[in-house]
Symmetry: C2
Subunit: 536 residues, 2 copies
């Protein structure tokens, strides 16, 4: 198996070459009119971590590893902050042991070991957290990170109900590979798809492919099985239920503090063969937002309804930097989507959008010959490629003092213009103050009848060695603005350690007490991912 | 305000006349080939309840009532069992006081009174529970039923986000009346719409108008405000969130054990003007089910996709008793629905369904002249009228020994044929044993990509005076069959006292412990609706 990079997005083979780093440095130097000296990326051999403080019992030795590379891979997620720290070989508090259980019995055994010694037990899926979701806590004698890659199989496919029983540790591509031969797909594509897992998605309420209707993994969960320190928690497979509060909705979003999600029955679907897409341009982001609002409020439920502001449209879809772009897409395994896309385009035009009829792309691969290629061409296709590539590109920009990150939220439509204004101002002011300038952009990743999920990107040229403080100041300003304007600190990236201060402001106080009470019931020794969501 | 009947569905004016009861008795006598003597319905004046055991403090006197009629209205819901007991003036354990708070301060004051004396505090919405959801518990010195009709207003409408802040005690028709002038609707129509409330719907996860996609009230909740004995619990208004487990999903389905839902922001919508409907006949229920499955799995999300078996199709839509009927309906406020209904009909025909093209009804009331009348004509229209009328018709059949009830569940498609078989057999066997015969029928009220929500109706001629034991035996047999076959004891009628034994078999054991822990946090004295969902 290819070795994961301990600092970059992807495998070691995805780490940038000296040449790529030079190109990136050149581009940034040009953009910011500064001199930049590209550095050589760190190598695994240079790692020198704190010695493991604990030794697994012999019964667990076979599934436990404590080498430096492995512990470094499991120390940080993949946010800007993580990348910089890892790039700098800065690992003051790595896990002591990485355990890789191969079945539920071994999951239980690891939890028992941690519970009896009071070690922190940290569930780890694909490691793609951007919120320090599995970063080891301070103040423990030992930290055991539980990597679930050993639970990587689709165990059962129920064709008629279109559901599958899937293990929690399966990565996106492996999951799809196991469904494909039967003609099915989960069709949950977070941008981190390649390096994230089903269990991680459920634990963080991740947001995927669908821009409307069933946006979060939540809606695709039929039942969950979770191993808690107090025993297994497994809900009944049901297509719908009204029997008391939903047990699944407690596991969904629990961020590893209540148990380890080992399996779930997931709703799957036939692979789409009818597609229709359109990239509609707008003179302003606001008029594009109006179109997105009207379209989602029709409840036609487009699969794609992503709005890029002029900055993002230029960067990701090759546009001119003056116009916003609304990416519309419909898809179906059974029904042609021509009518729907035309209705959506009509509404977009009424709201001020432009698109040539010829640029509405309709594809039908249901028959023998493939007609059209909706979603793979033109501005829509360009956006798609850049979406998948983006995380790798960031690898190239490390070690230059460059500060960049994304922030995502959701807010009702009535508050959206104010939130947009407030967050952009907060980000721009902070960038000006901290970096002497920079760029802010925004897109909608998902839209609901009652509001959008805006996704902000900021960047500025910071000072090498001071990036983390600079980043913290900017992130703080924008997070405060989001909460003050009525947004959520996260629509799909989860809370983690990073968002705790703002999460604490938005959730009902009594809910925190309730969650603590649940935690005490399921994890009486408080070993699972301490410090996430609540204090105990 | 019209006075509610203490035993019948509706107001006192809806109680059946002697003539109506005679007609009903005649019909049933004919159907079962027995002699039946119609009785005179009981009158409010004959009520003689246990004297109230407690007296409200003077500060609450203005909102508390203890007269017999009012306490009888609040003693039982509206199941078969409730109707028979009330009809028989059988009220051994009525509430002592009915409190009608007019605002949250008064809700708090009532809860404080109950908490300090250890009285049971029972939230009451419209009183339409069919599962003994608010029936007073035994073993308390006092029982205070908290009727929320005083919280009956739509407080705020946010046009742009299509959401409204609505008080928990508002009844269905009053809710729609307040939204209509602004062109909006919640469009949540349980069959009990006239006599049920928003707070009750949320507390019970009620299922409404939509047969697919957003079936439960759950999906329409943007945020909830609940007064608990430990203080207010209010979530942030958000169109979507990934910040920890959803606080709303703990309130939704809590059946009055955690707090009193006083307000919620609900997702509303424009009133539909484009409609399309079709009633497709099938030679067997199984082929109709296959069509429903394929249609819902296309994700076209019809508003209606209800399948009636031959018995129900005959009774409710005037069909011949040999064929099943699939009622399909699409609707939209913005987009014509012709294409969608045609696709759905095509799929239904492929699965063996028949319908003349001329019977596909398309309506467009978007312009000045109203074209078509989809959903108000033909088999679809007949079904609609009988749906709304059904609860009233049952009033006429009391006092004759007649035993009838409905049971609803949800199950994945793979288990559906077995469940259908098992439940029908259990019901028919029990009817044969208990009543010497009877009828069983089934329809799908909702369908999901992964399974249907079947709704069984049974009836048999029992013995006057023994109906309750007869009913209990039949209900037990069918409930056991549902659980054994992998269904849920309720898809939308809630758990209540009635379904507790089966609910306890289906929910994760650890979830019950978690719920107890939440309950202790929010309601430390255990006064709210004791005995529902968990024991404390
Ligand atoms: C480049 C990039 C793009 C991203 N794009 C998206 C996106 O489009 N949508 C989106 O939603 N997120 C996105 N994210 C965030 C991240 O990918 C998600 O939060 C994802 O769901 C995490 O899954 P994972 O398997 O990597 O979990 P990890 O990062 O390993 O863990 C995340 C959290 O879940 C817990 N956890 C993991 N597995 C389990 C388990 N089996 N049982 C219990 N707890 C567990 C961990 O303890 C931790 O708290 C992105 C991240 C990156 C770096
Ligand atoms: C003829 C008939 C048809 C029906 N059809 C449907 C249907 O189509 N779909 C469906 O889902 N159900 C249906 N039901 C069941 C019932 O109508 C639902 O459960 C409904 O949601 C109950 O609402 P209510 O306001 O009447 O609540 P009640 O019956 O008054 O109370 C129900 C439960 O909720 C609690 N509760 C009520 N209000 C509050 C509040 N504000 N805060 C906290 N707890 C509260 C009560 O304590 C109780 O446990 C039907 C019932 C009948 C009699």
């Amino acid at each position: 198996m290819a070795k994961r990079s301990f600092w970059a997005w992807g495998h070691e083979s995805d780490e940038p070459t000296a040449r790529q780093m030079k190109t990136a440095a050149g581009e940034l130097a040009n953009r910011y009119q500064v001199d930049l000296t590209p550095v050589v990326p760190p190598k695994s051999g240079s790692l020198s971590l704190r010695k493991p403080r604990i030794i697994p019992p012999s019964s667990l030795a076979a599934i436990c590893i404590s080498d430096d590379h492995d512990r470094a891979v499991h120390a940080y997620g993949r946010s800007f902050r993580d990348r910089i720290r890892a790039f700098n070989l800065d690992f003051p508090n790595p896990p002591d042991v990485v355990a890789r259980p191969r079945n539920e019995q071994e999951v239980e055994a690891v939890l028992e070991w941690c519970a009896s010694y009071g070690y922190a037990a940290i569930p780890f899926g694909g490691g793609s957290s951007t919120v320090a979701g599995f970063e080891p806590p301070e103040g423990y004698d030992g930290v055991v990170t539980i990597d679930l890659e050993g639970l990587g199989r689709v165990l059962e496919i129920d064709d008629v109900s279109r559901s599958a029983r899937i293990q929690g540790g399966v990565y996106g591509p492996a999951l799809e590979d196991q469904l494909r031969p039967r003609g099915f797909t989960l069709r949950h594509y977070p941008q981190s798809f390649e390096f994230s897992t089903l269990g991680g998605w459920i634990a963080t309420r991740s947001g995927g492919h669908y821009a409307t209707n069933q946006t979060h993994i939540d809606d695709m969960v039929e039942s969950v099985r979770m191993i808690t320190p107090s025993g297994p928690w497994e809900s009944r497979r049901l297509p719908g239920s009204g029997a008391g509060p939903s047990p699944d909705r407690i596991a969904i979003g629990s961020e590893g503090i209540l148990g380890i999600i080992t399996e779930a029955w997931m709703r799957i679907q036939a692979r789409p063969v009818f597609r229709a897409s359109a990239g509609v341009t707008f003179q302003t982001f606001a008029s594009g937002a109006e179109a997105a609002r009207r379209i989602v409020q029709t409840k036609m439920w487009p699969a794609n309804c992503r709005l890029l502001d002029p900055v993002e449209a230029a960067a990701a879809a090759g546009m001119d930097g003056a116009n916003a772009l609304l990416l519309l897409g419909f898809e179906s395994a059974e029904v042609p989507q021509d009518e729907l896309i035309r209705h959506a385009v009509d509404i977009a035009r009424e709201a001020g959008g432009s698109i040539d009829d010829a640029d509405i792309r309709i594809a039908d691969s249901s028959g023998r010959s493939f007609v059209g290629d909706a979603g793979r061409q033109g501005s829509v296709g360009e956006w798609r490629n850049s979406f998948l590539n983006a995380p790798y590109m960031k690898n190239h920009q490390a070690g230059l003092g460059f500060v960049t990150e994304t922030m995502e939220t959701a807010v009702t439509w009535d508050k959206w213009p104010t939130l947009d204004q407030a967050v952009r101002t907060a980000l721009q002011d902070a960038l000006d103050r901290v970096c002497g300038g920079g760029t802010v952009s925004c897109r909608f990743t998902h839209v609901y009848t009652d509001g959008p999920a805006p996704y902000f990107t900021f960047e500025g040229m910071g000072r090498l060695g001071a990036e983390l403080e600079m980043y913290a100041e900017i992130k703080q300003a924008a997070s405060d603005a989001i909460i003050a304007a009525g947004g959520t600190i996260t629509h799909h990236h989860a809370v983690g350690r990073l968002h705790r201060p703002w999460y604490d402001q938005q959730r009902p106080e009594l809910f925190a007490h309730a969650l603590k009470a649940i935690k005490r019931t399921l994890d009486p020794n408080g070993v699972l991912n301490p410090g996430l969501l609540i204090d105990v």
